[in-house]
Symmetry: C2
Subunit: 616 residues, 2 copies
């Protein structure tokens, strides 16, 4: 966007502020669906500011305007939204609330759109505004939408049925299970506002967003199992309608699904008058809670029960996900074999990522990437959230690391894998750091722990070897992953942030410790792992003991492993994993002798003296 | 207490309820000082119920009365407070709030004494009572005190000056430092309600409680550094008064201490009218907050800044604490040497604990135990909080473990140590479990971690080897320890409970993982460890890296160590620790050849083939 256009839009918004007697207006990155990704129609922050990152918030006052982004977007924000039009601040270190407290005067009003905020994410702003003696005022109709004349329509991609044999549980059974849970909590209904809950609950998928197969919409589930789906009828073909209209399996209402247009949502809420209605704390907007109140319903803010149920994959889902990982692993294996031959001969970060995309695309059930690939060479790899563009891509050269963090959406599962390899000869520092990261990755993979343990309790296992040498990595160790759903899902995670969510069998998390040396190189090793109840349990076990099954299949980089730094158990883990990779992927790559050869050498036992490979 | 007496007291309390139109009354274990231990005058729960445990809460309704205790007191509570007079419930699993919600009717009032509750610990009860449509009503004057005609007077033991060369910081400097911190938080004053803060801030100690050298009282610290101490003047001798009256070191008011009688406290609060006053969230009663409000002050609930400052020991305190641990270690060493000769010849849990107390008592600066010794043989040792009495003590016999958890108060430090030894020959299960516990204890001792890391992040290191085999222990791994103060202090801890308190250099914590096989045996290995900034830092460190210094000095039990289960680093840790124990304690026990011999064999290198000792 050009600076004059940016200036024009800001002025137009300020004119709206003046018209409505507002001292400032809040423009978050989130839209009505509170998702990590927003469709083009929800890109209000980008339209107003020019900033296209995936997290941020703008505050527009009468004289000053500020954009708040986190560390990964500091540079990008400064480039895309030039000062002095926009001030730039760190979302965490110098938060919006403090800025707002200074910027407003007693008696003034700060406007916001209650449709794009949860009560939780407004709390700090509200307190700040109130400390200044001002008020936070909900404004009907988003002020950006008022100005954005060519705002795209909401996406309306066709919805598809998610096969029951992959889901492992019928939509009717899910509704019954969730309805029973509502009843047990003395709730009469649930507003299904989270897009992944909606997809999971109804066994449907959509194409409304890039990378994530959500069908945007909302639903109301009653404690009798009946459900009203608010979604554009044009998105629902005959097959989906037939699927939704499944005859009741038990009870008079279970299985009854009514479809209504999104425009009827408010009218539909009036039917909840007098009822206790659960609103999901993470995705329910303030607007939603207000509307429920206006309808005479009693909103109960808390967890959407679908969130936990969805996270605990069924046996069928796990079988499907394992199959998807075999195909994904074969693509990554072919990529790594190819990579060692081509680098550094003229390829760059962008071109090699293209090759990986090609190799994934031929896989059965492949639907696209699960997120934008991070393809990073050398200093780029030290930026955990780096995104190369065709124009900015760095060419490969001898003597540094290449990091690729990528994933696929397959009908039968979502993948996310990071591997690091080397172009030329690594330094001893690179090898030492890679091995330390690997040791943490192994420690987490091998962890066994009692039922009730949270991801935050396991997080230090992945960091301990880095900590011993005075270094760390500044991101979480693991995020939840869906089954042909979002590559980031809750409620589970493995992170320093304290969590009260216990890990449960069937949950999938990433295991991705790293190490980043700014300006030099970065390392991250990532597998997806599923929580399993150990079978058999340890001899003499007194607590139900859980552990992890590794889903991801691709060799680690033996050129970067200092075998002498691994203890016996760690070497045995790597050897056993590599043997499994060889046995499972081998049959899929027999067409390419070069890949066969790469698979053999890259997965040979670490104890074999002849296993060391020369540099590329 | 006899049942008829119990019944009489309960009836008398119910008569008071009726008189005041109350449906129920809350009797917590805590008194006005919110401490773990209460003086005889604060033993209201014991007076009313007969229950003498250190944690619990009673709810007395018109027809039903219930006592809530945690798992360690279930048996004791049932014995001391017989049904049907008292119902018995678990404090955590079936909490008081749920009972109260059922027990009261809409419109009724539940009474409580706001002097013996913090707002935080009333919250759950208040919500429960409100859900029932009733109200929680503060009652002037404790209803137990009304009935308790021979209630002892508040303790008034003489206060002593804590030497500045041990404290490492003058009381004037501490007041200045805390006053500056108040000013930086825009606070005008702090109510010093926590007894350990009071002792620390003023460099004084008292004898108002068993085991813990507190002088009960309160103080108001102003942001100009002046302080008003509310304490019985009879407790303050000439030396203490001279100490408190130290001339200002800088600034006109810093160093000015005014002493007033506790009865003047309310009147004194009126001087805070219009000021912002910090009330310690952990020890400030609801009554205190109300009184501040009545005085026209604005109460700011938050952390007492003394709590963190006190936890970070000065270099002088650490030097003193090390010295105390040498004396304490020598006593424990003599005890262990003695123990192997006498057991099982007629000794029991009580008698051997007496021997340990005798050995400690001759140590320089010894002031008494820091808590009631846990002296537990065989099945008793499986109860983490076991207390033998002279009458109930179990005699030692062949073939089981003896666990002793004890500590001393020395003028120069507070100790807390647990050792386990064996009478006769241990089973292989005992050896395996001891070694697993030891491995966790070592992993925590050797942990290195970046500044900012909390105790809850380190906790899993102590549990990992138990978890791997499907077992765990149901208590925290470590608690903070004071310097000639309480053996339990905050804000730091090492536990599963999420914490936002980062470990800082100078903090002392216990390192005490365990394993308990109910009805059979128990194991706990405990050293005190101090957080240190590593010097030198690890080569190439990018984060300020912390670790631990072990303070406690006494051999582990080599008869219970399966050396084959230890890796090289773990063996080296034990050998280095034992060598230090030998070098430091050796000179102190030269008078007793048997102890010298025991020290040599018990601390010999694990790698020495001849190091194994025969069973006792």
């Amino acid at each position: 966007m050009e600076a004059t256009e940016q200036s024009k839009r800001l002025s137009a918004l300020r004119a709206e502020l003046a018209k409505r007697n507002l001292a400032a207006y809040v423009v978050p990155r989130s839209d009505e669906y509170m998702l990590e990704y927003v469709p083009p129609s929800g890109e209000r922050l980008a339209w107003l500011t020019g900033f296209t990152g995936s997290a941020g918030l703008a505050l527009v006052g009468r004289a000053r305007a500020a954009l708040f982004v986190d560390g990964r977007y500091t540079e990008q924000a400064a480039k895309q939204t030039p000062a002095p039009l926009w001030e730039h601040h760190h979302l965490i270190d110098t938060p919006p609330a403090a800025w707002l407290e200074q910027a407003v005067q007693s008696g003034e009003r700060v406007g916001y759109d209650p449709r794009v905020h949860t009560p939780g994410n407004l709390e700090a702003l509200r307190h700040a505004v109130e400390r200044a003696g001002a008020t936070l005022a909900p404004v009907e109709g988003n002020l950006v939408d008022v100005l954005w004349s060519d705002r795209p329509a909401e996406p309306a991609a066709p919805v598809e049925v998610y096969p029951e044999q992959l889901a492992g549980e019928s939509a009717v059974a899910k509704r019954r299970r969730m309805a029973d849970q509502l009843a047990s909590e003395k709730l009469d209904a649930l507003i299904v506002s989270a897009a992944d809950s909606l997809a999971w609950l109804l066994n449907i998928r959509g194409r409304d967003l890039e990378n994530t197969p959500f069908a945007l919409g909302r639903a109301v589930l009653r404690a009798d199992g009946s459900l009203t789906l608010y979604m554009e009828p044009s998105k629902l073909g005959a097959e989906v309608l037939a699927h939704l209209a499944l005859a009741p399996a038990s009870g008079p209402n279970v299985g009854v699904v009514t479809v209504r247009a999104p425009a009827d949502f408010i009218a539909g809420l009036s039917e909840l008058s007098g009822l206790r209605v659960r609103v999901d704390r993470a995705s329910g907007s303030e607007w939603l809670i207000e509307q429920l109140g206006a309808a005479g319903a009693k909103a109960s803010l808390g967890p959407d029960p679908c969130t936990l149920a969805k996270a605990c994959k069924t046996a069928a889902e796990l079988a499907a996900i394992r199959a998807a990982h075999v195909r994904d692993g074969a693509a990554v294996l072919r990529f790594l074999a190819w990579f060692r031959r081509v680098a550094p001969g003229g390829e760059d970060e962008w071109s090699v990522a293209g090759k990986l995309a090609e190799l994934r695309a031929v896989g059965q059930h492949y639907r696209g990437p699960s997120f934008s690939t991070i393809s990073a060479f050398g200093p780029s790899s030290a930026l955990p959230h780096y995104r190369a563009t065709r124009a900015s891509a760095v060419p490969l050269a001898l003597g540094n690391l290449y990091l690729v963090d990528s994933g696929g959406q397959y009908l039968d599962g979502t993948t996310d894998i990071t591997r690091v390899t080397v172009v030329g000869t690594p330094t001893s520092e690179m090898v030492r750091r890679y091995t330390q990261v690997l040791k943490g990755h192994i420690a987490l993979s091998r962890a066994q722990f009692p039922f009730g343990t949270t991801g935050s309790q396991l997080d230090p296992f992945a960091r301990q070897f880095l900590w011993q040498t005075g270094v760390d990595f500044d991101h979480g160790t693991g995020h939840g992953v869906g089954c042909y759903l979002s590559v980031h899902e809750g409620p589970q995670s493995i992170s320093k942030r304290p969590s009260d969510v216990a890990l449960r069998p069937g949950m999938i998390v990433s295991n991705e410790p790293g190490y980043y040396k700014p300006g030099h190189f970065g390392i991250r090793i990532e597998n997806l792992i599923a929580v399993v109840q150990l079978d058999p349990q340890p001899e003499g076990a007194e607590k139900t003991t859980l552990g992890f099954e590794t889903l991801t299949l691709a060799p680690y980089e033996r050129q970067l492993i200092d075998v002498g730094m691994l203890d016996h158990g760690e070497r045995a883990f790597v050897d056993a994993y590599h043997e499994r990779v060889r046995l499972v992927l081998g049959p899929l790559v027999q067409d390419d002798p070069d890949v066969v050869e790469y698979l053999a050498t890259s997965t040979a036992s670490l104890d074999r003296a002849d296993a060391a490979l020369p540099g590329v």
